[in-house]
Amino acid sequence: MSSIKVIACSGIGKAMGLMAREAALQVTDKLAPDVAETVCLAYIVTGDEDARNKVEDLNCITVDGCPAMCAAKSVEHAGGIVQAKYRVIDEMRSHKGVNAGTGTALTEDGWQIVDELAEKIAGKVAELIREDQSNG
């Protein structure tokens, strides 16, 4: 069984891009390193066949910062099966008025939101793994 790809947008202009990047990293590095891994988003679109093989027909979870949904769009375009799409902006909506920081560095509040989102994504990873196993 192949691992779940967790792919972030890493948008450079806003705090939400950094938050997406860090949430994905936390899942692949700390919360579910054995069953989840990441892939460079830009590479799967601009790269060669090898790059596409990293996502094509594989289970992916995308983590986007803003509603432009760049990671989701590009992963779908590259043929990945997007099982779940997360958006940092949705997390921000449940933390009204919070200053999360900038695209360079996050505030404590910003990190808090990253941690919560990472937990959600890790939960989804576990769910997908279970489904995959029960389907044999």
Partner: protein, 286 residues
Amino acid sequence: MSKTYAVLPCNGLDKCAGGVSKEAAVMLAENSDSEIICPVLLHASDARYEKITQEKPLLVIDGCATRCASKLAAEKKLKITEKINITEEAKANGITLGKGLHIGENEMKLAKIIVDKLTQVQESSKTEDSIEFPSKLTYEVYKKDKFVFRLPKEEGFYFNENDVWAYVVGNKARIGVTDFVQKSLSDIMFFTPPAIGNQMEQFEDAGNIESAKAVFEIISPVSGTILAINEKLMEAPELINQNPYEQGWIAEMELSDFENDKELLHTFDGYFEVLKRKVDEFHVKH
């Protein structure tokens, strides 16, 4: 008369969601003049459905994220008008799909919710279309760095200096904010709408929108009564960022004294100068 579709369900056999896609398609066909496209037959012989897909808008119903029906439609070069995903719908409606492959009570309920929603969408979009709005707008643009600020040139658009527009047809108007507002706010996360039925004077507030940066009070360019609000913004305020003149409009109003309101409104030429000045000042400050 209600709208009809050519319905392409995935009809997947390996997951319960596939069964729900079929059930929803059957219900739609029974409740309206919609016609079902069998994915297996479509795959084997696309000519069979040529007529239906030309006559009717295509509704694709996928069971899961593998999106086989969407992929099949794309492969056959069919233009998809609407997409439904059963797994996502189940989640959105708080329904857990069964592990088995048989359709149970819950699954039937979900299929019915989806079919109801599809027919309801058509009704509510009718009320939203109470004002005849141009299907396509032409824009003048003002560029600053990489940012592009659009402004519609169509006659009928009026603007106040609080960066809110009104598109006036007869005694009705649709209102919304300009590109300057949505760009300076950046990602809009909250929309507080004005109350329907509310009577307001010109320059009274018609709700507000909020991003991580600031709250913007929508100051009405016209006086009158709120007839409708853009319901879609409640779930997706980002539509204002995508296009504040088209899918991101705020509300529709019945006008009470437009001749008088007009005195303190700009048409395109006047506001375009205001917009340019504001953009320049904004960029100097930031």
